[in-house]
Symmetry: C3
Subunit: 344 residues, 3 copies
Amino acid sequence: MAYTLAEIAARLGGRVLGNAEVEIARVATLEQAGSGDISFLANSKYRSRLGQTRAGALILSDADADETDLPRIVTGNPYAYFAKVSALLNPTPEAVPGVHPHAVIGQGAQIDPTASIAAMAVIGQGVVIGAHSIVGEGCFVGDHVKIGRGVRLYPRVVVYHDCVLGDNLIAHSGAVIGADGFGFAMENGCWIKIPQIGRVVIGKDVEIGANTTIDRGALDDTVIEEGVKLDNQIQIAHGVKIGAHTAIAGCVGIAGSTTIGKRCQIGGSAGILGHLEIADDVTIASFTLIGKSIREAGSYAAIYPFGRTEEWRRNAVHLRHLDEMNRRIKRLEQSKQESIKDQN
Amino acid sequence: MAYTLAEIAARLGGRVLGNAEVEIARVATLEQAGSGDISFLANSKYRSRLGQTRAGALILSDADADETDLPRIVTGNPYAYFAKVSALLNPTPEAVPGVHPHAVIGQGAQIDPTASIAAMAVIGQGVVIGAHSIVGEGCFVGDHVKIGRGVRLYPRVVVYHDCVLGDNLIAHSGAVIGADGFGFAMENGCWIKIPQIGRVVIGKDVEIGANTTIDRGALDDTVIEEGVKLDNQIQIAHGVKIGAHTAIAGCVGIAGSTTIGKRCQIGGSAGILGHLEIADDVTIASFTLIGKSIREAGSYAAIYPFGRTEEWRRNAVHLRHLDEMNRRIKRLEQSKQESIKDQN
Amino acid sequence: MAYTLAEIAARLGGRVLGNAEVEIARVATLEQAGSGDISFLANSKYRSRLGQTRAGALILSDADADETDLPRIVTGNPYAYFAKVSALLNPTPEAVPGVHPHAVIGQGAQIDPTASIAAMAVIGQGVVIGAHSIVGEGCFVGDHVKIGRGVRLYPRVVVYHDCVLGDNLIAHSGAVIGADGFGFAMENGCWIKIPQIGRVVIGKDVEIGANTTIDRGALDDTVIEEGVKLDNQIQIAHGVKIGAHTAIAGCVGIAGSTTIGKRCQIGGSAGILGHLEIADDVTIASFTLIGKSIREAGSYAAIYPFGRTEEWRRNAVHLRHLDEMNRRIKRLEQSKQESIKDQN
């Protein structure tokens, strides 16, 4: 499969400069690209790299349009354009429609004839699966789950009963959607389980990474709005709500009943305590614990700076004495004040 | 399914005030509840919310018994009572006893006739499964595993060979019990695997969250005592022992051979290093690394407070100079001492 | 199965002292060992424990050879020797060669006749599986994956299409190899998926823990070199390269395109940001975030020391005022300087 620059631009827009008949079969980095490959420059800061690339063609911003003589497509957003070219050149393999003979389908399940249910998948009773959706090998879909159109569950995804998955959801292997939230009442020294009777409701165009877990609500639903992107090994507790187009990196944990705004970006291994509200357009650094609600958009962090272990140790011991340190400074300031007074 | 307050109190105890014949079909939050729903107030601090609820009935403590005219059940522990009412109104669906035709059962397995083995499950040789236990879709149970009564393994749980699961265990999807611990000896620049020949032994009434992993012991067993509750994505290394009724939130990691006491509570994403001992009744904050044994009950923490990124950056640079800062304060104090001496 | 000390030494080397005809059937800790068991002392610091052990035989270093009269094997590296004795006494059970009738095999798959494909496994098209490899129950192996010799995939491992697994790989249950990396371009407020077209390529003698995830490359491959050992619940993002014989403890997250050197050791729950380079022979402490490249071998850390919660709180508030504290110290120093000048 190959396309000329002219064909690409006809489909995806952009302005072709140089030879529009160059054929492109693959995408590659500037360093790895050869003839037949198209590469891109998203950040003008790295403009000097254009000189060394052997790419057959490039995707460039207007600002960089004249920095090379190579055949090129000029566009306002080279990285997004590159994403689209790559999708054009690397289409997701079509799955064979229908139910594999080694799958098990529950009573009353309504599976669109264009949908594909792979080997070893188990579909519960009353499940609804929309057009062109794919349930991968060994997936489990609980009773009465609703799956939209164009959904792709990779092998071994589990969806507990009654959950709702929006159109175009991609869920990677090992993701678990709708397991019980962690809710217990203490009585006489023992934990009593609180039944988790809410659902997980996921909007359209969401992606969920491998081994990520999203718990069902205790009473109200856990809600993931449209366009949310979740990386691998994220833990989302019961009753959390995540606003549209928020992106969360790997290993983040979000505790129960917290609401996260739209268009937030949360760095890897960050954590957010329960019952908090995070405003729209908040960025949280990796490895940062958010322990209070954030009412204003902006960028927040709490990272302990790393160093050589011996240096770290020398400094870290004082963290246990910061309050005392502060009092010592205060005493010095007071004694200075007094000595100034004395001198007057 | 609906119960009158009188019927509920007859089963679960408590004192009914107001109309005992009100029928209750569902549990709900104070905000969401309508007629036919029962809600609860666990904390008198939120007493003012009682005025606005449209709940058909309430579960209240003695202290709040007179704060409303709504039909109500008065009890010493409203949250635990609510848990029991919810369990009454939301019984776990019964699984069909017997072995699904798409399951595979190993030689010599002893499966109680009341137990249920779902589609795509694989049961190893010599496995014993007790009465009313459920092995979910696609679970794998290794050779010679012993599973007690009333156990529920949700779909895609894996239990390696020889492990022992106590009565009433609930394990959520993706949990892996009994994988090899991380044990290697270094020889000539290469790691040599230490065979992991211990088991995982789990007491009764334990719950294990989705994608949580509990490694088998290297030599001695890994032990989870009765009543322990583990949230999702927890990692428990080889040879760890967790005391009865301890509760651990999501994403916690516990390194090898550490012993944790009874009735501890460990916050999300906390970590505990290996070969430590944590006393009974210890509470550990989220995001806290415990690097030494804790001999006394109490509450422990180590969280870096978050702030605006620019503010955090301005302050965090000084963490690398705390020791120097301390020496500067000391010098100032000494010079003050000397100047006092001079003045005398 | 039992071996005399003489037989063990004949196979594994080492020098026998005392009765070489003692029969050994099991390995055990010094505390647990009885007659018939062999134990070991790796660290002379614990030499005093030798007096109390009831072990039938011991593995000791030259330095400790004369500290006991028990039958013993003396060797340069007792811990590595112990690993080998344990492997001798606890051989991994052989799997039955061939394809289980409840497995599904794709067109054109080449499976060595000595390999074993367990029940409920699904093997994609064009997959190649080498001699004596084992694909466990419910594993999924995507199209065109290449699996070397002597590989063991425990139940429910997922390998996405086109990945390459080296000889002797051990992957534990729930591991996901080759899921899409987390790559999106922002356009008009929506995230556009970047197709992830690289592979995961894994060298020989690697071990991967339960529920660990290794994403495929966005453009270039994700590479795990030979002898790397990964614990449970590790997240390795797209395009990461991990050097030979590096060992990584549980719950670590490594962000995209980072390169880690050879023979590194990374503690539990540590994190490494993206696009960094970590030199060979670097040790990183648990719970440490590495935010910049590390060019020199050595040991690095960034751990907030824990304490009683009230003590921690008293001290931690000052982290938000360290810059101010520093300025206060500076002012005191300046005023001291001025007062010294004044005095002159």
